[in-house]
Symmetry: C2
Subunit: 464 residues, 2 copies
C-alpha cells in the first residue's frame, strides 16, 4: 500500500508528531495572559514564529499563523486588495491558481472588483510578459502560485515579481506546494502556505506580509496575531508546523534529487507502458514529487478505484471523479486531455519499490477500465447515423459522461473517408477539452464547436 | 501552583489528549478523497460530528466544525445577517457579549447596519423584556451568550429565544462558556462554541445552524463543512474536541455541584477576608466554576503578579492589566467596580486545598498591593488645593492610572465637611466606573461627571 497524494495532504512528519504531542502540555493556555502558563505558551509561540520566519526568509513580525492555508489566502488577498483600494480594484491571478485564490477572486468580482485571469502555456506555466500585459494603472494586487498543485509546474515567480515590482504592484505568492522544498525566490510582497502540505499538522497556515506592503485586515477585529488571524491560537499545532518545516527543509535537497528521479521514471515510462497517454506539466521546471498524466478512453474515477484496490492512493483532475461535473480548471487552462487523469504526488520518503510496483500495476488497471467502458456501449445508447450528405457522420453522445463521447468518436472515425467529418453531439463539459485533445493525439483535425439543440456539436475532420 | 483561569482556556482533558494522539495517524488525509486514507479520515470526521451533535442536541448536518469559537461567531453572525438581509439590517446583542460578538457587530455597523446593545442589570444579566423592546421590524438577528465569560452570570436564553421566536427573529447563542456543562435550553436558531473552553484542543469551534434558518455564507466559496467553514479540516483536533465534550459531559453534573460549592466559598468568604471588596455577578444563576470580585485601591495587574508569584493563575478585567487602557466592557456595562478585578474560574477537577490556599493567600496579596500603591503617592505628584469656595476640594489625578484616582479621593474625603464636595480630575477611563462604584460602596454621594480642560471632573459629595 502506497500513499501517492501528498499534494493533497502529506502524512504527518515524525517531527511534527513529536512536537505536537510535546507541546500539548505546555501550549494550551492563552499566550496573552501574564501568568506562568500564559508566559510558557507565549514562549512556544514566539519560538515557532522565529523558526517559521527563518524558513520563509522573512522577519518574525511579518509572519502570522492562520488556521489553514485557505484562510491565509483568503485573508491575504482581501487584506492586500483593501490596502490598495485607493489605487484601484483590479486583481490579477493566473488561470491555474488553487481554488482558494480563484474563489477569493470570485468574491472580489461579486463585490464589484475586476479580475484578470492570466492564461498559461500547455505546460501550465505563466510567462512574466503575460503578467506585464495584464498590469493596469488600477491593479491593486497580482497573485501567482509558486508551483502548480495539479501538474507540478513551477512558475517563474521571481520574474513575475520583478515585473510587478516595476509597476508598483504587490505580488501575493501561494507557496503551498513548494515551501517545504525551499524559500520562494524573488521580491514578493505577500506569501501564503499550509503546514499539512509539508508534513505539518492540519490547522496551521502561514500569512507573511512584507513590511511596507499596504495591508488592511478585513472582517471583525481581533487582537491576536497582529490582528491578521482571528481566533485563539492553536499553539501545539503551530509548534509542530514550525518544527516540521525545519526538519523537512533539512532533508529537502537530497530528497528532491531522489523524488525527481522517481517521477522522471514515471514520466518516461508511462507513455510506453500505457497506450494513448498524455503526460502533462513542464518536464523540467517542476516540483520534485509530482507527475500527472491523462489516459484516453478512461474514466478517472473508475481508474482511481482500480488503483486504490491495487494499493495506490492517487488523485485525479478528471470531471468523472468530482462532484462538480467539470474537469479540473488547471487541465482546462492548459488545454490538455482531462479524461483518465491521474496525479501522482510522492511524499518525502516514498520508496522506489512502490514506484516500480505502481508502474507494473498501472497498465493492467487502465486496460481493465478501457475494457469495461468499451464493451457496454450498445448501439441503442449511442446512435450513429449517416446524414443525407455523403461523408458526414453524426454521433449522438448526449447524456453520456466522459470518456464515452471520445470513445464513440474513436470508434467511428474510420467510417468516414479521409476529408469527411464526424459531428459529436455532447452535453458533457469534458468533451470540450477532450475531443480537441484527442484530435491532437491522433493527428486528426479539430474543426470546431457548434451550437446544437442540446449541448454542442464538436466537429472533427478525418485527416488520415 | 493552581490554574484558576479555565474561562480563558481549560487545560487539555486527558480524553482530548488521548483522542488527539490516537487520530494523528488516521486523520491527516483529505476526507474528500476516495482512497483508503481519505475514507478513514471521513469516518473519523463523521463520527466526531455525530458525537458533537448529540452533545449539542442537534442534527449532525446542522453542525460544522470551524477553526475556533471566534471564527464560529464571526461566520455565524455574518451568515445569519446576510440570510435575512431582505428583512433588514438591525442586529441586537447584549452589552456583555464576548468581544468576538461585539467585534462582529462593529463590522456590521461599519458596513452600514445598525446595532442595538441591550443593557444588563448590575448582576450582568439581561432580561427577556429588554430583548422584546429592542426587537424591530427590520431586526435580522439577535445574539445572546449562554453565560457571561467574565462574571459567570447565566443568561435567560430560553426566555429570550421565546421572545425572538414570537417575533420571527433568529437567536444566535454564544455557548462558549457553558457547553461543557450541558445543552443550551430553548428554541435558539444558531449556536457557537469553542472546544478549548471545555478541555478540548485549540483549533476547533462549533457552528450550528438549525434547519430552516436562513443562512447565507459570506466570504470566498469553499466546498468543505457544508460551505460554512473554509479550509482543510483539522480532523485530529475535531476528534479530540468531540471525544472530550462527551467525557466532560459525563462528569459535568457531579463536578458542577462540587465547583459550585467551592466558588460559593470564595463568594462568601472574600468579603470578610479582604476589606473593601465587591463580589460581582449573579450569586445564583451562574456558571459553577466562576467567581469574580473587585478590590478597591488595587491595581489589577500588580495583584495578578502577586497571585502568580504565590502560585495562582487568575485573570482580571481591570484596565490596569490590559493593553487597551479601558476596563472590561462587561464590568462597565454592569456598572460595578473595575479596579483590582479578579476572575477565578476553576477548571474541572480543581481541588479544595488549592481554593483554601487561595483564600489564605489573597488577603496578604491585596494588602501588599495596597501598601505599595498607598505609599508612593507624593504631594508633588497629586496636588490637593482648597478652592476659594469653602468645602470644595480639587484632586488633580491627571495622568495617573487606576486605582490612584480613587485612592486619592478616599484620602481627602475626610478633609471636606459633610455636604462638601471633592472634584477628582482624571483622564483615566477606569475612573468613570470606579469613582461612582466607590461612592456606592462607601455610602458617599456621586454627583456626576463634568467636562474639564483635560479628562473629566468627577464630583463627589461627602454624605457622612
Amino acid at each position: 500500500m502506497a500513499y501517492f497524494d501528498s499534494a493533497s495532504s502529506a502524512p504527518l512528519h515524525p517531527v511534527a508528531r513529536q512536537a505536537l504531542v510535546a507541546s500539548l502540555d505546555e501550549g494550551w493556555a492563552d499566550p496573552a495572559r501574564l501568568y506562568r502558563e500564559g508566559r510558557r505558551a507565549r514562549l512556544l509561540l514566539d519560538a515557532a514564529r522565529e523558526a517559521a520566519a527563518e524558513a520563509v526568509g522573512c522577519r518574525p513580525d511579518e509572519l502570522v499563523f492562520t488556521p489553514s492555508g485557505t484562510r491565509a489566502v483568503h485573508s491575504g488577498v482581501a487584506g492586500a486588495l483593501a490596502g490598495r483600494r485607493r489605487v484601484g480594484r483590479h486583481l490579477i491571478v493566473s488561470a491555474v491558481e488553487h481554488s482558494s485564490v480563484l474563489h477569493a477572486a470570485e468574491t472580489h468580482e461579486a463585490d464589484g472588483g475586476t479580475v484578470a485571469r492570466v492564461a498559461v502555456a500547455r505546460t501550465g506555466s505563466v510567462s512574466a510578459s503575460s503578467y506585464a500585459e495584464a498590469l493596469r494603472d488600477d491593479t491593486a494586487l497580482a497573485c501567482l502560485q509558486s508551483a502548480n498543485h495539479e501538474v507540478g509546474t513551477a512558475q517563474p515567480v521571481a520574474e513575475v515579481a520583478e515585473v510587478c515590482r516595476a509597476a508598483g504592484v504587490p505580488l501575493l505568492v501561494d507557496a503551498a506546494q513548494s515551501l517545504g522544498w525551499g524559500r520562494v525566490d524573488g521580491d514578493w510582497s505577500v506569501l501564503t502556505a499550509s503546514a499539512h502540505k509539508w508534513g505539518g499538522p492540519p490547522g496551521v497556515g502561514l500569512l507573511v506580509v512584507r513590511k511596507g506592503v499596504r495591508f488592511s485586515v478585513q472582517g471583525p477585529a481581533d487582537e491576536r496575531e497582529s490582528g491578521r488571524a482571528a481566533g485563539f491560537e492553536n499553539i501545539p499545532a503551530i509548534v509542530a508546523a514550525a518544527a516540521s518545516l525545519r526538519a523537512v527543509r533539512a532533508e529537502a535537497d537530497a530528497e528532491a534529487v531522489r523524488l525527481r528521479e522517481l517521477t522522471e521514471r514515471i514520466r518516461a515510462r508511462v507513455p510506453s507502458l500505457v497506450p494513448d497517454v498524455e503526460v502533462v506539466g513542464d518536464p523540467e521546471r517542476r516540483l520534485p514529487g509530482v507527475v500527472t498524466f491523462s489516459c484516453l478512453y478512461v474514466d478517472g474515477e473508475t481508474l482511481l478505484h482500480e488503483l486504490d484496490r491495487a494499493g495506490f492512493s492517487v488523485s485525479s483532475g478528471s470531471s468523472c471523479t468530482s462532484s462538480t461535473l467539470t474537469p479540473s480548471h488547471v487541465l482546462r487552462a492548459m488545454g490538455v486531455l482531462s479524461e483518465g487523469n491521474v496525479r501522482v504526488s510522492l511524499p518525502m520518503g516514498a520508496v522506489e519499490e512502490d514506484v516500480e510496483r505502481f508502474l507494473s500495476v498501472l497498465p493492467g488497471a487502465v486496460a481493465a477500465v478501457r475494457e469495461k467502458l468499451g464493451a457496454p456501449v450498445s448501439a441503442a445508447e449511442v446512435s450513429v447515423a449517416k446524414s443525407a450528405e455523403e461523408g458526414v457522420l453524426v454521433v449522438d453522445a448526449l447524456g453520456r459522461r466522459c470518456p464515452i463521447p471520445v470513445i464513440e468518436l474513436a470508434k467511428v472515425i474510420g467510417d468516414v473517408p479521409v476529408g469527411g467529418t464526424v459531428r459529436v453531439l455532447s452535453d458533457d463539459e469534458a468533451a470540450r477539452l477532450d475531443i480537441p485533445a484527442w484530435c491532437e493525439m491522433r493527428g486528426q483535425e479539430y474543426v470546431g464547436e457548434e451550437p446544437a439543440e442540446r449541448g454542442s456539436a464538436y466537429v472533427v475532420r478525418r485527416a488520415r
